[in-house]
């Protein structure tokens, strides 16, 4: 699996536009700035929805109304964030593929997606009974707290990708080398 991932990353890195993004000062930086701005839009909306479920904001407005109305800008932010995130990956694919932080971030993204699916399903099925209350029922609040924790983890691991503490070129423990997918040259 690690071998195939590395081969794919090396193939992407050999493409002219991967090098183009990586070596273009303005292009790379604008993509990264757009990534941060879209992340702020997406997570800003998500945090507001989550805060409403926890009874921390706009408690006089039905919770599902907040969730529905903020859904569109949130998904616009999400779409731009994913596209710019992919472009950032394509710019530096080999190093990122072998980054333990990127791997943890990817795992957290998957878990956040599963949690969001569970939350939405549960919210739609039960909203009639609590929609106008200050706080969502306990199972939903647990899901919301998990959502906030997972996204905080995504932000943190995303930020940590920039650090080379556990990069494969350094001497690493067996566990780190395995988790990061380091391959012998």
């Amino acid at each position: 699996m690690n071998h195939q991932l590395l081969e794919l990353a090396q193939w992407i890195e050999s493409l002219p536009w991967s090098t183009g993004i990586h070596e273009s000062y303005y292009m790379y930086n604008w993509i990264e700035s757009t990534h941060v701005l879209s992340l702020s839009l997406f997570l800003g909306m998500l945090f507001f929805i989550d805060f409403r479920m926890l009874g921390l904001v706009l408690t006089t407005v039905p919770a599902t109304k907040i969730a529905e109305r903020l859904h569109t800008p949130m998904m616009i932010g999400f779409a731009v964030m994913i596209v710019t995130g992919l472009l950032l990956y394509f710019a530096v694919p080999v190093r990122v593929t072998q980054s333990i932080w990127f791997r943890i971030k990817f795992l957290l993204l998957v878990l956040a997606g599963i949690n969001a699916w569970y939350f939405n399903r549960r919210m739609r099925n039960s909203a009639d009974s609590w929609d106008k209350q200050d706080r969502a029922p306990r199972p939903l609040r647990v899901s919301v707290t998990l959502s906030l924790t997972l996204w905080a983890g995504v932000i943190t691991t995303g930020r940590l990708i920039a650090y080379d503490w556990y990069d494969c070129y350094r001497v690493q423990s067996e566990f780190i080398a395995w988790a990061a997918g380091c391959m012998a040259d």
């Binding site: 000062y25 930086n29 990264e32 700035s33 941060v36 701005l37 992340l39 702020s40 839009l41 997570l43 800003g44 909306m45 998500l46 945090f47 507001f48 805060f51 904001v57 706009l58 006089t60 407005v61 109304k65 907040i66 109305r69 903020l70 800008p73 905080a152 932000i155 943190t156 930020r159 940590l160 650090y163 503490w165």
Partner: protein
């Protein structure tokens, strides 16, 4: 010259030393800074899109603006606190970084704008009685200034 001395003092301070010595602590501060920025961005976007009649049209704009402003203040405090910690570790480098100064100017402008123009305007009368054009200009200016703060902050790391 005086300002440079202040930046030298900052880098030599305990905060600067901690930030420089413990990379993990610095990285966590960066993450907290980003999370605070996300909450601040959410508060700004929800308020301004409501003022522009794009979002939550069936919820009173007074309610949205007031409640979002509470979170804006919390996030702003956190952005500044984590920002000061981060700046202390690389103070001298920042002193010579033009994007840092662009961010400081836009942040200063943003804070003045919110507390001297936007909030006084929104608190001056029920929103329905305010000039729609003024409200729209304020909302667009707010989105522009805070986007600039976020973008210039990211560019500090590139130069």
């Amino acid at each position: 010259m005086e300002l440079l001395g202040y930046f030298e003092w900052m880098e030599a301070s305990l905060l600067g030393t901690i930030g420089k010595t413990y990379g993990g602590v610095y990285a966590i501060a960066q993450s907290l800074h980003l999370m605070s920025l996300v909450v601040l961005g959410g508060a700004v976007v929800v308020t301004d899109l409501r003022l522009l009649n794009v979002l939550l049209k069936d919820v009173s704009s007074e309610t949205v603006a007031d409640q979002a402003h509470s979170w804006f203040k919390v996030a702003l405090f956190s952005v500044i606190a984590t920002g000061v910690f981060m700046a202390a570790a690389v103070a001298l480098r920042l002193y010579y970084n033009q994007f840092f100064w662009a961010k400081m100017i836009s942040l200063f402008a943003g804070v003045l704008f919110v507390f001297l123009i936007k909030r006084p305007l929104l608190n001056s009368a029920p929103h329905a009685q305010l000039s729609p054009l003024s409200v729209r200009i304020v909302a667009l200016a707010s989105l522009a200034v805070w986007s600039t703060v976020a973008a210039t902050g990211r560019w500090i790391g590139f130069s």
